[in-house]
Symmetry: C2
Subunit: 172 residues, 2 copies
DNA sequence: GTCTATAATGGGATAGAC
DNA sequence: GTCTATCCCATTATAGAC
């Protein structure tokens, strides 16, 4: 069910995916869908929650690193792995304004992005990390672009990691 | 009118922007909007057409460059200028699945992206430019991210150009 | 050109039978 | 859990007066 919904979100966006479409793909009626989830937003947050555990584990691991550069490298690796392995999810999340609005109001999601942001945005050194962080996020989520759908995961993973390191001026 | 529509598209996405919202922002009724544009898609393509002339001029200029590297540099500069100066437009275009579907079916837009792609995707040298092209597009459109809204255009322009050059391994 | 009024459609959501 | 049937409402789109 969540898989079916996520595929449709990735293809049509959240706003243009009706409960009827989800029900049709599952071969049931709308009422059956409503039996599991009270609202459409609940479906969206449920699809997100299923993926959040993986991302939370990645941030957990990065937060215990020895220093900030190391933490960033660890986070980077895992975010890229995650994005490449689940490009449909990235497509569903990235950019869609309706989806972003719902996720921004979803506490577990916003809490996670705050933690990621803290790892990236350096206060002490006087460097403003907001711009490079935005670039980095953009490069990682680029794997969701339709034009890259044909590439194999291994190649894409390696290439994106190389470009991300180049962006951050760190050795891979 | 097109300005009002574009602002709403940038904030709520195309699918979640109703004609009523556009009419309200203009202080008129829906019927007045329909008098100018027969359908909602017509409004979208009209907002796009208004911006396409700028982008077409940029590609024209790049296509007459001496060599491919030079063409890329010219195109890069102008695309970044365009994106930074009109971040609301980038936000409206980037990612929104509904918007992308309409634009993909809009000939002037698809023709332009084909021309840009030809400049970037190198066949002769054996290098596959599809991945770096996707990275580049991602970095440029990153200026539309809400988190970068507070930065001044000049700073953003300079930074994005630097990161883009780093990505392509060319001197700025 | 802009208004009021009104169709026509589709979507979110619920009630109640099986 | 799934169905049929229904409600309510927002939206797209049009007709016709001013």
């Amino acid at each position: 069910m969540l898989t079916a919904a996520l595929e449709l979100f990735a293809e049509y966006g959240m706003a243009e995916t009706s409960l009827q479409m989800i029900a049709d793909r599952m071969g049931v009626t709308k009422a059956a869908v409503y039996h599991q989830f009270k609202t459409k937003e609940a479906i969206v947050t449920a699809t997100a929650d299923r993926e959040l555990v993986t991302l939370e584990a990645a941030v957990d691991q990065a937060e215990v690193a020895d220093n900030r550069d190391q933490a960033r490298r660890v986070l980077l690796r895992q975010l890229i792995d995650f994005a490449v392995d689940d490009r449909a999810l990235v497509r569903a999340w990235q950019g869609d304004p309706a989806m972003m609005r719902v996720l921004a109001n979803h506490k577990p999601f916003s809490a996670l992005t705050t933690r990621m942001y803290s790892l990236l945005v350096e206060q002490e050194s006087g460097i403003d990390w907001r711009i490079p962080a935005a670039m980095l996020a953009s490069v990682i989520t680029a794997v969701g672009q339709p034009g890259l759908a044909g590439f194999e995961a291994d190649l894409l993973r390696e290439q994106v990691y190389r470009y991300a390191c180049r962006l951050l001026n760190i050795s891979d």
